[in-house]
Symmetry: C2
Subunit: 296 residues, 2 copies
DNA sequence: ATAATAGTGTCTCTTAGACACTATAAC
DNA sequence: GTTATAGTGTCTAAGAGACACTATTAT
């Protein structure tokens, strides 16, 4: 390591005299889409409850976007990774610290935060609903779960000389206890000979702060994609669950009905039988399964 | 928009008086794994040339990692997105500006740059080799293509009480004109009941700067993954190509042989026939195809 | 018995893998 | 004709979709 640079400095000498340039630096925050699946509406004693996909949002107590709802998040500190920052935030917000966490995308559009230059490294977290108990928010910090509805509104395709532009508009509807937030997000895929790009943009937005509607769309798409070919959905399940429970979770994420027999074949290798059964369900008991510890 | 915050300010008033906090901010750079596929070794006049996966690296002309090779990249400016920064760098480095570009991952390990706090938002770019002509690097800025070899060295699996740890070691060998860079990167997947995490770390590293061996591994894995279920590989092809060419590109990316008949069936919907054929190849001419403009 | 869910069997259709066969230009 | 690649046909096995059937508990 005795190499010297064009100024005749060794690496140690160089680092000692190094001063960070005075060009501008961005703030970097993490924003998290924290999902869980819960039972909804008490129903007929013998019917199974419906499942709902939920996301945690926090009501902003200050400008900008005062009163709007935002993803939990915060600034990254110099001694931690973005992932550690996300885990720290998660712990503060939900008091849970053993979860599935996955980096999604880094949003860096200048102007996405009206205060200053802020990039957001976004994460998705999946929590088993039996673990969830959001801290009672104080006045300046109201946290609440919203039920997630995400559906295709419009699909369009335009042919170009050497490619195409595909546009999809999704309606994102987040239903809370006493508010409903509605956004329309457009996903534009441009594909030509050489290029192939995907861009999210917001068509309309009511009640969500910043570009968080985009982040949530991105998270849902990632979740939907990964559910199909990984065991990611199992991180939304409690220790023991029935295959019907698991199927319901798949269905609520994918927003479509699945066939029982095919579903069971497909997830068979992801789970392990136990000798436990549900009780007092008002109908035939169901075998409980757990995650396959052997992995995939 | 006449809402007032706890200090009685409207949003406009708030933004006007807002001063960015004096907490520390990271520098944010983009680093790019720029891939192309080229023909190697002139062979028997009637044999087809072998294909090689290549990546562009730049030799560092200053500390730190003086003399080592690094991914092309640079700092993001306040008026651009990370993606625009990547495109700008790409244009400067290769003079190409119509490419496939995809964000990979944001690396933020404190200490990954010995100078100061630097996060790297990494991208992967795919270039059709017929377009490539790297600018002749001046002395302080030598750019060169390296042939990529990435193979599994060791695989290990350990069962835990409620999950498992899977470890894979890959050897990354980058072969340049007069240097060969060798790194060993370990990918650790920890999966328990609730959690599921993946971590890259460097076991050994010769000649590559910073954590770029990790970034390159990540890029190769992404490329391999996406080749299987998208049309991403077509961005490495010239306008017209034979199906055998395309198969060779798949094979060099996946590092395994494919069966011709099955391959042709699989990619059929990605391509369009033309009426052109190869000429003077020393054997039966081959039909030329182009990318399916209808999209997938 | 009835309601409601649990769980299985099997037919079909599609697709991937494997392999063998035929075709054709340059020399 | 020989060489080397181009391109196709078909058998098999595995998997997904569809649907129907049987099983079991609480009331």
């Amino acid at each position: 390591m005795e190499q010297r640079d064009m100024n005749g400095l060794t690496e140690q000498e160089f680092l000692k005299q190094y001063r960070a340039g005075d060009y501008e630096r961005p703030s970097v925050a993490t924003d998290m889409a924290i999902f869980t699946v819960t039972d909804s509406e008490e129903s007929n004693y013998r019917k199974l409850p419906k499942k709902e996909l939920q996301i945690l949002l926090i009501q902003r107590g200050g400008h900008p976007y005062l009163g709007n709802w935002a993803l939990p998040g915060g600034f990254v500190r110099p001694t931690e990774t973005t992932e550690q920052a996300a885990l720290r935030e998660l712990k503060e917000e939900t008091n849970v610290d053993n979860v599935y966490l996955e980096q999604l995308y880094t949003f860096s559009e200048p102007g996405r935060d009206p205060r200053t230059w802020v990039m957001s490294c976004s994460y998705m977290a999946l929590i088993d609903s039996s673990k969830v108990q959001v801290k009672a928010g104080d006045d300046a910090h109201k946290a609440s779960w919203f039920s997630v509805n995400y559906r295709l509104l419009k699909e369009q395709k335009e042919l170009l000389e050497d490619g195409f532009i595909k546009t999809k508009q999704y309606e994102l509807k987040l239903i809370g206890h006493d508010v409903t937030l509605t956004s329309v997000v457009e996903c534009t895929m441009t594909s030509t000979e050489a290029t192939s790009a995907m861009k999210y943009s917001m068509i309309s937005n009511e009640g969500l702060a910043f570009d968080h509607a985009k982040i949530i769309s991105y998270a849902i798409e990632r979740l939907r994609g990964k559910v199909e070919y990984t065991d990611i959905a199992l991180h939304l399940m409690p220790k023991l669950f029935t295959l019907t429970n698991l199927q319901q979770v798949y269905e609520v994420i994918l927003d479509k009905q699945l066939l029982k027999a095919a579903f069971r074949r497909k997830v068979a290798y992801l789970v392990e039988e136990t000798d436990n059964y549900t009780e007092n369900a008002g109908h035939r008991p169901s075998r409980l399964f757990r995650r396959n510890r052997e992995g995939i």
